[in-house]
């Protein structure tokens, strides 16, 4: 059993509990940096894709997990980032400028959408964002001159300090680029959570009434949450544009939005870890399924991936509402308390639902 003794306020403010935990994350980062030395380009591409989805997941997590505003249309902001990046890149804007601009564009669109969305809550917001996701598909097609309509658009290699980084020509460099953006977004997210802004998000999620009484400007804070969420999602969209090279509206279908939400639920709502766990499941589960199916039959079964992904999700929601991250925390707590952990420690309290029609 480990006992953690806090000796100053900084122990609660610091990113890591103690040196031990900091060391583990440092090791993880070193491993992540070194991995292109041992991994083949194909697998490295998967890993880059996982990081991109993790960024997108973190974006959605800010909104759905921490501010309590579920969005079922986040692929629209992914599209904002991707198309903006493609347009800027094709006009010769360097990546260091075009990446934040793409994020900013998505963020501003998100903040604009937040204005009417502010007055909605719960199920109405979910359905409104769903509608936005669907309308976005059609808007992409209708904006033919910029987006290339149905046939889509393509984007060249990343232009960083005069070097050209192409996903296929130098996969390691592209992976490091994704890793760099991931680390920056993760740090920003963690900082947010340990400061006043993050607390105001949580406050709005749990009780808007008392958030107001505590001096939180609910409308402004929600708009801010939308902006930050869409900004991060837009960054992911920009990286994704370079990852897939050419794309059209079908890359950002409403099902992608829904799967993004399912992804962070699988990973664990309300935690940064959850976004990463979710992205890992989202990217690697289909490969795992394909590998197993090939052991049984050689015929491809259409829709098998999503079917099993959904079934796994159902199991997770029933068994572990806090997702993979919840299970991970419990396992860790079990080891930290060893041998004092008891079975009933994590038992769910019986709860009854009261109407949510009262807001």
């Amino acid at each position: 059993m480990r006992i953690h003794q806090k000796t100053s306020y900084d122990d609660d403010i610091n990113l890591f509990e103690d040196h031990r935990q900091a060391m583990w994350y440092a090791l993880l980062l070193i491993a992540a940096i070194a991995i292109p030395l041992v991994l083949d380009p194909f697998r490295l591409g998967d890993l880059a894709s996982m990081l991109i989805w993790a960024i997108a997941g973190m974006g959605l997590m800010v909104l759905a997990g921490h501010t309590g505003q579920p969005s079922l249309g986040h692929a629209a902001f992914l599209a904002c980032g991707a198309y903006m990046e493609a347009w800027l890149n094709n006009h010769g804007v360097p990546f260091l400028l075009s990446l934040p601009l793409s994020g900013l564009f998505a963020g501003v669109v998100g903040a604009l959408i937040a204005v009417p969305a502010l007055r909605m809550s719960g199920i109405y917001l979910a359905i409104a964002t769903l509608a936005i996701g669907i309308v976005a598909e059609d808007v992409i097609v209708l904006l033919d001159p910029v987006t290339g309509g149905v046939s889509g658009t393509s984007v060249g290699p990343v232009n960083l300090f005069g070097y050209e980084i192409d996903r296929y020509v130098n996969p390691a460099a592209f992976y490091w680029l994704c890793l760099g953006v991931t680390v920056i977004v993760t740090l920003g997210y963690a900082n947010l959570l340990r400061s006043a802004t993050g607390r105001s998000f949580l406050a709005i999620r749990d009780s808007e009434v008392s958030a107001k009484a505590m001096g939180i400007n609910v409308a402004r804070t929600k708009t801010l949450a939308f902006f930050l969420s869409c900004f991060a999602t837009g960054l992911a969209g920009a990286l994704m544009a370079h990852y897939i090279g050419s794309f059209n509206y079908e890359t950002f279908l409403i099902t992608v939005s829904i799967q993004m939400l399912l992804m962070i639920v699988v990973g664990g709502m309300g935690s940064i870890h959850g976004a990463f766990f979710g992205a890992a499941v989202y990217v690697y589960l289909p490969q795992f399924i394909t590998a197993i199916r090939q052991g049984i039959t050689n015929n491809a079964i259409p829709g098998l991936d999503t079917g099993i992904f959904a079934a796994v999700l159902i199991a997770i929601i029933i068994i572990e509402p806090l997702g993979i991250n919840g299970r991970w925390l419990k396992t860790r707590a079990w080891f930290q308390l060893f041998p004092l952990a008891r079975r009933d420690m994590f038992r769910r309290q019986k709860s009854y639902l009261k109407t949510e029609r009262m807001r």
Binding site: P70, P116, R119, M120, S121, G122, I123, Y124, A126, I127, A128, L130, A131, I132, I134, V135, D138, V139, V141, L142, V209, I254, I258, L261, L262, V265, I301, P302, G303, L304, T306, G307, F309, A310, A311, L313, I314, I317, I318, P321, K350, S351, Y352, L353, K354, T355, E356, R357, M358, R359
Partner: protein, 291 residues
């Protein structure tokens, strides 16, 4: 004349949306959860009917097949509640939203696995028959769709307003614990509601199949029915039907008078406008919380 035809087709289409929306509202009214799989239940209901009725499959009499399909889907709805949804009893709305989305994906996969992804059409006794009325060619299928919808809505409305079970359903959604204390068997009531909405989904599926072909992705139509339910205020049965009709009418007219690309977005645009003007729908049920 062209307008009259558009209106008629719009109403018939709107009835199907309205019925799916009715399924949403039913479950929402009684359990306060939103079933995102309602569209997929409709799809499954249509396929089950097709399995019973079509000559390529079991070739039963149409009406017998429909009745059997309704029963089968009611059982499916009940089992879904009893085996899966009930595990999340008392959890927040959002968890159930996610759960039902996932169930929808699974249902879609099953339907695709069994019946394939090629569009199929249901054998109905009134396919291609027309009635001439005031110079209009009215399809018998359209009359069928409109008639069934009106009857069903009326029956459900009376059920909630007049019967004890209907009121118990309403009570259990407002406050589960209080409903328990008043002797309402909340869990059984939930099971019954899901069974009922499974049955309604099947009828909606049959009505849709009467006018077009079906495939496993039909469930996405449920999203349009969401627009209908939201316009109607989510929680009002007549509102759901009204919303369905609005969506059904907006679609063909937008396609005809603006541009064909807009018929898809128009219902959502209407819904977003309604939500912006009245954030809780036209027939709102949300009140502000007392502190």
């Amino acid at each position: 004349m062209e307008i009259a035809q558009l209106v008629l087709g719009g109403i018939a289409g709107g009835c199907v949306y309205g019925l799916v929306a009715l399924g949403f509202v039913l479950i929402y009214k009684a359990t306060e959860s939103v079933n995102f799989a309602q569209g997929d239940m409709m799809m499954l209901g249509a396929f089950v009917t097709l399995q019973f009725v079509n000559t390529a499959y079991w070739g039963m009499n149409f009406w017998v097949g429909v009745c059997l399909a309704v029963i089968v889907m009611a059982v499916v709805g009940y089992l879904m509640e009893a085996l899966v949804i009930r595990r999340l009893f008392g959890q927040p709305q959002f968890a159930i939203v996610i759960l039902t989305i996932a169930i929808g994906f699974v249902l879609r996969f099953f339907a695709g696995f069994i019946w394939g992804y090629e569009p199929l059409s249901l054998d109905t006794p009134f396919a291609g028959q027309n009635v001439q009325f005031a110079g209009l060619a009215i399809g018998v299928d359209e009359i069928f769709v409109i008639g069934v919808t009106i009857a069903l809505t009326l029956a459900l409305y009376l059920f909630f307003a007049r019967t004890k079970l209907g009121m118990a359903m309403q009570a259990s959604s407002q406050n589960q614990l209080a409903a328990y204390y008043m002797g309402v068997p909340v869990k059984r009531v939930h099971g019954l509601v899901w069974a009922l909405s499974g049955g309604i989904a099947t009828i909606a599926g049959v009505l849709f199949a009467a006018r077009g072909s079906i495939d496993p992705n039909l469930g996405l139509l449920g999203i349009k029915a969401f627009a209908a339910a939201v316009i109607g205020g989510f929680g009002s049965l007549p509102g759901a039907l009204a919303g369905g009709l609005i969506v059904g009418l907006v679609e063909p007219f937008a396609g005809r008078y603006i541009a064909s690309g807009y018929s898809q977005i128009a219902p959502y645009a209407v819904m977003l406008v309604v939500l912006v003007l009245r954030p809780n729908g036209l027939f709102a049920q949300v009140q502000s919380k007392k502190v």
